[in-house]
């Protein structure tokens, strides 16, 4: 029984994540913030979205 609840909770949280991710992506970035650049060099987090953005430029 508790396994079902475990799966339900995990699925609910995953769904919440997916929904918020899509909602966040669809929310337009406010004016004047389109080209914000972070000052973070020296960090090696290769999966960081900022880093990928920087590399694209």
């Amino acid at each position: 029984m508790s396994v079902i609840f475990a799966i339900l909770i995990a699925a609910a949280l995953l769904g919440l994540n997916a929904w918020l991710y899509v909602a966040n992506k669809n929310t337009p970035v406010p004016e004047g913030c389109e080209n914000l650049k972070p000052d973070c060099n020296g960090c090696g987090i290769t999966d960081c979205t900022l880093r990928r953005k920087q590399e694209e430029h």
């Binding site: 508790s2 949280l13 004016e31 004047g32 914000l36 972070p38 000052d39 060099n41 960090c43 979205t49």
Partner: protein, 190 residues
């Protein structure tokens, strides 16, 4: 436990960076400029506070009654990721000026170990809600304190003549070592 003790212990004595080594990734990356250190610090305080209180509630109101304590790691990390998305969306919609100063640091925070650490720490220490709130403010405040001090030192480091191999992170770690000595003096405070 005394709330002041919890605060001082988390803020200074057991400082996340210098005593526990947690949150080192953003610490090395973002601490090169004072303005970005402040932006990152505020974003971290906000996210850690919200995410830890939510995780605490989820743990005691959903996982414990259902006997699913072993799910805490999976649930907390998902909750943190969702919370960061939510905060970013909320700030985008409601406060463009805040987004301008904090926005870029928010996505960095999901994989910041400090957030998950505080959420788990509140559970292992068996804190109640008030203690959780105090701890969840004190830990990131200590993070920000060290980040800001460190950024001011690093701004000066860029102007000094450092041997080639030590430039960048190695010399920054030496600075961190010296700061750790200074912070170890707080050990007798409480």
């Amino acid at each position: 436990m005394n709330l002041l003790t919890i605060f001082l212990s988390a803020f200074l004595i057991n400082n996340v960076i210098l005593a526990k080594f947690i949150g080192m990734c953003p610490f090395m990356g973002v601490s090169t400029k004072l303005s970005s250190a402040i932006g990152m610090g505020i974003a971290v305080i906000f996210v850690i506070f919200g995410a830890s209180v939510l995780s605490w509630a989820l743990y005691y109101y959903a996982l414990v009654p259902l006997g699913l304590e072993y799910m805490k790691l999976i649930c907390f990390i998902l909750l943190i990721a969702a919370f960061v998305q939510f905060v970013e969306m909320f700030i985008k919609k409601n406060s463009p000026s805040l987004y301008k100063s904090l926005g870029i640091y928010l996505p960095l925070i999901t994989t910041n170990c400090a957030v998950l650490y505080v959420a788990l720490d509140n559970i292992t220490q068996k804190y109640n809600l008030i203690e959780t709130i105090v701890n969840s403010i004190a830990v990131p405040a200590g993070f920000m304190l060290v980040l800001v001090i460190f950024a001011t030192i690093r701004e000066r480091l860029t102007a000094s003549d450092v041997p080639e191999a030590w430039q960048g992170n190695p010399i920054a770690l030496v600075v961190a070592a010296i700061m750790a000595i200074a912070f170890s003096a707080f050990a007798g405070l409480v």
